[in-house]
Symmetry: C2
Subunit: 377 residues, 2 copies
C-alpha cells in the first residue's frame, strides 16, 4: 500500500492524500460506509458507486465470521467477489463487536472467548485467527485484534490492557508475515492506538505501534456514540500530533459530520460510522441545509426535493413529502432512499473538505458550514 500526502492545510493539520491499494485508489480524507455483514444496509453496490461516490467500504470481521463464515468467503474468493464490490475494503478486527455485542466473554493472553449474539454458540478469537479470517475476507486494509476498553475501567486496567493489545499487534504482524506467502492478496495491516482518556498511555501506545511494521494507524476506543465525550478532539488531536506524517490515520467509528470535520483539522485521514445509515433508517436526514427528521408532520406536504445541494439522483428527484409518506407507510423504499441520501451527504461533505484543504481555507469553511448543517430544520 502506498500513501502520499499531497497537501497540508496552511492553517490546520488537515491534509489531503491518496492511498493506493490493489483494488484502486482512495482520496483522503475519506469516509467509509459500513457494510456490516457484506452489505451497506439498504444500499446496492451500484448505488455506492453511482450515487454515493464511495471509494472504500468497511466490513465487520465479527459479523462476517458468524455469517456467512470464512468457508463461504474462501470459496467465493473473498468478500469483494461475494458482495460484487471491486473497490477497496477495510475490515475491523471484530474486537469491538465482541465487546459490545457478545454479553459473555473472557479475555486471556491467548485471545478472547465469546458467545455469538445470534445463537449463543461459543467462539474464540486470537490475533492469529483474526488475521486468518481477514485473509479469507480479503480486505485491502485490515485491523489487528485489540481490546477496546470502556472509559469506566480505570487507569490500571487500561495500562494492562494496552500492553496486551501491543503483544497482540506483534503476534498479528508476525502471523501476517508468515502467512502472506500462502496467498496472493495484498493486505495492509494497520496498528490500533488505545489508551482510553489517559494521555501517557496513548503516548505509550503510539510509541509501540509506530515501532511496528504497519501500513497505517488507527485511533481506537474513543467514541462510538454521537459526540457525547468532550475529550474526543483532545485525544485525537494529541495522538495525531505524536504520529509520523507518512502514514494514514484512521479514527475508528467516528462520527457525526461535526466530529469528522473537527478531526480532519486535527490531522485524521479516515473515518467510518454507522450513523448515516442508522439515522437514515430512523428518518433522520443530514442535508446541506441542516438536519431533517423526515417523519415529522411538517414535511408531509413539502414537495421540494430532499436536497437540491447534492448531485445524486435520489436527493434531487424524490421529494421530502414522498419520503415522509414512504416512512409513514414503513415502505422499504424509505430506508433505501434515506440511506443513499445520507451517505451521499457524508461523501459530499468530505469531498468538499478536501477542496478546502487544498485551498488553505479549511478552518473558515468548516466553521461556516457547521453553522448550517448542524441546524435542526
Amino acid at each position: 500500500m502506498e500513501f502520499t500526502v499531497t497537501h497540508t492545510d496552511m492553517n490546520s493539520h488537515g491534509r489531503v492524500g491518496m492511498i493506493k491499494t490493489s483494488h484502486g485508489d482512495v482520496k483522503t480524507p475519506i469516509f467509509m460506509p459500513v457494510g456490516t455483514v457484506g452489505s451497506v444496509k439498504s444500499v446496492e453496490a451500484r448505488n455506492l458507486i453511482n450515487d454515493i461516490d464511495a471509494e472504500i467500504i468497511l466490513g465487520n470481521t465479527y459479523h462476517l465470521y458468524l455469517r456467512p463464515g470464512c468457508d463461504i468467503l474462501n470459496r467465493a474468493h473473498g468478500l469483494h467477489n461475494f458482495m460484487n464490490w471491486q473497490k477497496p475494503i477495510l475490515t475491523d478486527s471484530g474486537g469491538f463487536q465482541v465487546y459490545s455485542l457478545s454479553k459473555i466473554r473472557k479475555i486471556t493472553e491467548e485471545g478472547v472467548f465469546f458467545k455469538s449474539h445470534i445463537d449463543g454458540s461459543q467462539h474464540f478469537f486470537s490475533p492469529e485467527k483474526v488475521i486468518d479470517m481477514e485473509t479469507s475476507i480479503g480486505a485491502d486494509i485490515i485491523m489487528p485484534l485489540d481490546e477496546c476498553t470502556p472509559f469506566s475501567c480505570g487507569y490500571d486496567y487500561t495500562k494492562e490492557s494496552i500492553k496486551r493489545t501491543h503483544r497482540w499487534l506483534q503476534r498479528s504482524v508476525n502471523h501476517l508475515k508468515k502467512t502472506r506467502n500462502d496467498h496472493n492478496r495484498h493486505q495492509n495491516l494497520f496498528g490500533i492506538i488505545q489508551g482510553s482518556i489517559f494521555k501517557d498511555l496513548r503516548k505509550e501506545s503510539v510509541d509501540f505501534v509506530t515501532s511496528m511494521d504497519v501500513s497505517g494507524y488507527a485511533i481506537g476506543g474513543v467514541c462510538h456514540t454521537e459526540g457525547n465525550f468532550n475529550g474526543l478532539y483532545d485525544i485525537s488531536g494529541y495522538v495525531c500530533s505524536l504520529l509520523p506524517k507518512d502514514k494514514p490515520r484512521y479514527f475508528m467509528g467516528v462520527g457525526t459530520p461535526k466530529d469528522i470535520l473537527e478531526c480532519i483539522s486535527l490531522g485524521v485521514d479516515m473515518f467510518d460510522c454507522v450513523m448515516p445509515t442508522r439515522c437514515a433508517r430512523n428518518g433522520r436526514l443530514f442535508t446541506t441545509n441542516g438536519i431533517i427528521q423526515i417523519t415529522n408532520k411538517k414535511w408531509e406536504s413539502d414537495f421540494s426535493c430532499i436536497d437540491s445541494g447534492l448531485d445524486n439522483y435520489v436527493s434531487k428527484n424524490y421529494s421530502k413529502a414522498y419520503l415522509h409518506h414512504l416512512f409513514k407507510n414503513k415502505e422499504l423504499l424509505a430506508y433505501q432512499i434515506a440511506s443513499i441520501h445520507n451517505l451521499s451527504f457524508y461523501l459530499w461533505l468530505i469531498k468538499i473538505a478536501r477542496q478546502h484543504i487544498m485551498n488553505n481555507d479549511y478552518v473558515q469553511w468548516k466553521n461556516d458550514i457547521l453553522q448550517v448543517i448542524t441546524v435542526r430544520l
Copy 2:
C-alpha cells in the same frame, strides 16, 4: 387512449398490440408491477425503468386514499409527480381492498361503507367519489368502483351484485364525463366484467359493459390467489371470446407465470399481481431455469449468478450464495435484489411472449417454457 392490435397469433387468441397514453406507449401483452401505496415495494423508480423495463405500473386507490390522501396527491399534481414516475399508471378502484382488507363494511346502492385497516376510521366510497379520487391520483387508466363477489356467495347474490356494479359503472361514466372538463388529465376508464363462475352472468356483464363508453375491459373477481381455481382459464377464455377485439382486456390480479401465459393465449392483454414482489420478499425467485427458494441451504455456496438468462444488473451480478446470505441476515438489500429480479423475470417473460405471438409459434413456445420455468429447483 388509443389501442391497436398489430398482430394476432395464427394458432391461439394471443395478440400483440399497443396502448398509447399521454404518459407514453405500452406494448401488450403487458405485466404491470403493483405500486400499492406509491412505491413498488423495495424497488426504486430508476430500477423499474433501467432494470425491469416496466412500461406501466399499478397504484391502489384504496391505499393511496388512506395515505397520503387525495389532498396531498392534488397538491403534488398527481401520483406521477409524487412518486417520480413519468410513465403510465393504472389505478384500481379500491373495491377489492375494501372487500379484502376492511373487515367491517356495508354495501348500499349508493356505495360502500368501510373501516380503514390502519386505524379503524370510517369511510365511504361511491362510484363518483372513486372517480374523484382517481382524478386526484391522475392515473392514465382508471377502474370504476365494483363489487368483487366471492365465489361462495351464490348465483342469486351474484346476479343482484352485477346489476349494482353495472349501475355503478353507468354512474362512473357519467361522473367522469361531467368532471373531465374541470381538469386537463387524459384518464381512460375501463369497465369491469363480473359474474363470478356463472357464464350467463358473465355474458350479461359483457353485454352491459360493452354497451358503455369505456376504453377497455377488465375481468374481475376470478382469482387473487395462485392458480387454485380451475375455472380461471375457462372463465377468462369465455369472457374474451365475447369481447370486441378493438379494446384492451385486463385480467385483474393475475397471476402466476403459467396463468399469465395461458391467459395470453386466450386473448388477455394486461395483467397485474403482487406475486413477483411478495414472493421476492419471501425468498421465492422465478428464474429462466425454474423456481428457487433462495433461503434453502442448497444455495448457500452456489456462487453462480441469480439468473444468467436475464439481462438486468442484479440477476447477472449478484450470486445465489450472496442473496441467500442477505436473506439469512434479514438484510433489506435481500428484498430489493429479489424484487428487482422477480419483476425483471415477469417483464422478460411477457416480452418474449410478444415475440412468439409475432412469430405465430406462441402455443408451442408457451408449452415448452412452462416445462422449464415451473420446475422447483
